[in-house]
Symmetry: C2
Subunit: 692 residues, 2 copies
Amino acid sequence: MTRIALLAGIATTSLCAAGAASPALADEGMWTFDNLPTAQIKADYGVDLDAKWLDHVRLSAVRLSGCSASFVSPDGLILTNNHCVVGCTGNLSSGGKVDYVKQGFRSKVREEELKCAGQTAEVLLSITDVTDQIRTASAGKSGEDFIKARDGAMSAAEADICGKATNLRCQAIPFYRGGEYKVYKFQRYTDVRLVFAPEFDIAFFGGDPDNFNFPRYDLDSAFLRAYENGKPVKTKNFLKWNPNAPKEGDVTFVVGNPGSTQRLLTVSQLETLRDVSIPVGQLQRSEYRGRLIQYGKTGDEARRLAGDALFGTENSFKVYYGRQLTLNDQAFMNTKRAQEAELRAKVAADPALAAKIGDPWAEIEKAQTAYADNYLVYRQLEAESGGGSRLYNWAETLVRAAKERAKPEAERSAAYSPSRLARMERGLQTETPVELPIEKIRFEHWLLKTREYLSPDHPAVKVLLGKDSPEGLTEKAVNGSKLGDPAVRKALWDGGLEAIEASDDPMIQLALRADPQAQAIRKIWEAEVEAPVDAAAERIAQARFAVYGQSVYPDATFSLRLSYGKVAGWTYRGTTIPAFTRIGGTWDRATGEAPFALPQSWVDKKDALNPETVFDFTTTNDIIGGNSGSPVIDAKGQVIGAAFDGNIHSLGGAYGYDGSVNRTVVVSTAAITEALTKVYGMDNLVKELTGK
Amino acid sequence: MTRIALLAGIATTSLCAAGAASPALADEGMWTFDNLPTAQIKADYGVDLDAKWLDHVRLSAVRLSGCSASFVSPDGLILTNNHCVVGCTGNLSSGGKVDYVKQGFRSKVREEELKCAGQTAEVLLSITDVTDQIRTASAGKSGEDFIKARDGAMSAAEADICGKATNLRCQAIPFYRGGEYKVYKFQRYTDVRLVFAPEFDIAFFGGDPDNFNFPRYDLDSAFLRAYENGKPVKTKNFLKWNPNAPKEGDVTFVVGNPGSTQRLLTVSQLETLRDVSIPVGQLQRSEYRGRLIQYGKTGDEARRLAGDALFGTENSFKVYYGRQLTLNDQAFMNTKRAQEAELRAKVAADPALAAKIGDPWAEIEKAQTAYADNYLVYRQLEAESGGGSRLYNWAETLVRAAKERAKPEAERSAAYSPSRLARMERGLQTETPVELPIEKIRFEHWLLKTREYLSPDHPAVKVLLGKDSPEGLTEKAVNGSKLGDPAVRKALWDGGLEAIEASDDPMIQLALRADPQAQAIRKIWEAEVEAPVDAAAERIAQARFAVYGQSVYPDATFSLRLSYGKVAGWTYRGTTIPAFTRIGGTWDRATGEAPFALPQSWVDKKDALNPETVFDFTTTNDIIGGNSGSPVIDAKGQVIGAAFDGNIHSLGGAYGYDGSVNRTVVVSTAAITEALTKVYGMDNLVKELTGK
């Protein structure tokens, strides 16, 4: 599930991210806890974030898989978003007798709380600067050697600090694009249970039309509980529950884990995203979306399958729509140009710095030509190979890993280190359902678009299709493949390259055929795009550090950050959007037709609910995907809501923060309390939260 | 059928077009026959286009509905593209017994030639400058008065020159955005019969993947014959058939009717197209395309219906993809900026001119803000209302015409003049099939995208949907409407506003509900976007005329033009595309799977065909949609092919010509002769063409 939850895999791309473009504007910034603009916050909002306040908030904050959360009781109770637990409610429903996603989940007593398989909860205990030891280990090295040395030093630093303790986790994280390395040490809870989730129809009321929009009437909240040794964890630090909604202009702090931002990209890189990569992705995504919508009309099971796939597709569509909107905004781009010019001027004014930095902006601009020349081929054959088909991705993983494992360990690429191979092997053996109709749509769409964008004359297209049509090949490959069976995947893994090459599985054969061309474009891409850009970007990061020092925050890396701001609506193209919705407005918006159909529980309790209760509200806090579930905190350090979305303009926050329109969307503690009390009768839970 | 045939309705938008941005580059230009760069052509290619050559070519050129063509025998034989006659072959197949689209049409003797209903053939006899009389009639008038006076004077000029002769047609055409008005007098033939059409699978071999691409192996050619009084027309002027292919570098002339270009748009207008309007259209079109593809999988009839709808949708997608590619090209935009700066500098250097012209560029730039602010609403509610649903469009026409007809004639808008109302009435009574499944996809898609892009909170969305979902409303409105029956439409037209308002037809009710909001945004759009842009653009056209005089050509207006160039391939992003394909290459490309499946006739005659025969070739000629079927002529005035497509870069030709990559794609007379002889046994036709 995505919304503003962290998209799977985004964290790994944060290596491409670095730092803010220039000193932060008012309310801008995803600040690390070891470099907070406390003086600025005091000046702007009159709030003094002293060490006690900060320690308390940090130790109350919880990182989930891809989401953020917070402790809200002394008994390990965790507040997050419903869309952060919908994987859990889905898994718990997989017997088929009960659909917790649709009907929600309510444990009236602790014994009814159910474990969310795979869910962890992490609390940040300490931050240790390990920059020097990483630098020392990798000094004088380059290319693959550099990466191996650096990664080895990072692992060593993690082990130094955490040792073998199983309830701790240490993670070495690069900040400012390698300008700094820190080890984040977490308390780690692996027994996390579901306490409460509302019905999907009220958690995601308004569906895709309302996603990333406002006004909003969503109870996108849920409760988990951390357990240890079979008992609820005793949490000394937790956020006090404030069941009252804030007022317009009230200060708000969001504490959570923004996944990834690219605010340091140069103007030429932003232009490439705007003109080359995002548009093609959106066009293909739109066509795929249309296919899913139409497929969903062919029956009840089709509707369910299409609906699941559409949720992520439509969310991604909107994310990139918002990003494109920002990149197409001339004023935004002019600001970026001015920031870049300022930094370049400051570098030029310092001869020693200028000599050290050189002209990385020109180097990056040059690499953009290679980007444009190679992007379509790279995208279709490598970055998006298989178009999301699980079967093809397994086949590709099996083929590549087998080839690498056939080499002596020292000659393998860094992506096939022993620990990564072990992770791949585990991943391949995980039972994962393959929905054949969706699989066919994905795979055929990929083949069709690959032929369309590369042309039937491209050698790779000829190799892929041979004399087949995309439609015919899809039928053969998807129907004929046995890779849906984990035992088959295990046998092929164990059999190695010999077994792979002898396999008559059509997906394996296809992946074998496609691999040389895919590897070839990957090498071109790494050599002509990634390597020169990375090298240049690191020098830009150094320049920024030299010029602006600690007044900049690093790009998001799914590590704990604090952002500050206030409750506020916004005005765009002449229309003003107020900061609040109230429960009473829900009834006006409800049509009875999906996605504006309320669950029966809400229909039944309409008269009981106070229509004046604030439902959702917007703030100026600077957040991004990964922040889902973050507590929204008032000046006293009490929780007043959970961030669950941004508005459409916040999506451009990937590239830069615009305080006039970027907004965080929050479900209020007021609404949660009202619903728990009046709709769901969760008296024990309310008592735990409020003491009443 | 579209490809580079004129898209329906494009001609009317040519009022928004004006002239080339600056003096033409080598091979650039769609030149009118009364202003040809003959000296330049002589200098560049050593060919002297004397009056005799030009008269002969002009009188051999034929304008079809939306396409171009030429006489190629003394007996009224006409060469054009297959995709220009596929409407005719489709109509002739509508009994259902025979599918001429699929199997082609071959009349071995003249008695077998079949009339193409509605097809006309027009030959340009003369061009008369009527600028002064139009100017005099409209002098001192503005707004609606100006339009009425101008249009009246244009009609009068047409009548002056053609009188009541039924075999003549006079058309007053504005050039250089009203800088000049000319009356084009045509000989008009209304009995046009089908002689030969190949199978669709070889005419459009490669389908969408190959459309606007090259290499190409398409026999996109067909023959018609003009009749008068039941007998073939005797044509003194016709192009001599040259069955030999040209060589690389040979000069080529294309004579035909390019539909519409927008080469005078200012940079700010191009940026608006690039950033605002084209992207949204492409995203919605892609999703619609995906729906059609998936719908086509639900059965044989669905495949046929979806295929028809996809043809136009995929063609449009590629047209705009090519345009976007050009607008995203920084070098192209920089050229446009330089051209604009040059013209502005020349205006500024002439005080009298500067005083007359003012700063129309700034006025247009200002209007672009209004464009961006209003575009989505204008697009969804007005410009694209109904999303292509025939039922909704009929409902909208009935509602609006009834409202206008309820007013005194003097108060009606210009769009509801007596002649236009008469045309509407005829159009409404034409028997037109409504394919309900496609209708539902179109209409639902429109409602879904209107809600998505305007948001559920927009007043117009609330009015449209009420408490319905897009899906539910579509079922009700499409299933419930009786407007598919021409008699019902006639009764509503005859009954006027009273009958309309009393109707319980759900589409009529919807159109009535939607009309006030649609009219409101139309008025805003006209006042804040169109009016200021038109006023400013006219002054830019005057400036260009004053500065560059006759060295510029007017924007395309679906009127006869000559373009010159040469046979040439091109190089893009490091890949060089040769100028020729040969018949032998067809067999390599054929997979047996659509759209790369050859018709049986070609499979059977593989050995008979000379593999060395040039099939298709590319030239540097400057063409655009509407040029489909244009004769490609050699230095001697002989026909060597029919233009049937452009490459992907030619699509950016809407905004400017780039001789390094813009290419016309031609089916050679060599290939046509070879196929007629070896595959189709059309000996009489070959004899008529070649004398052998």
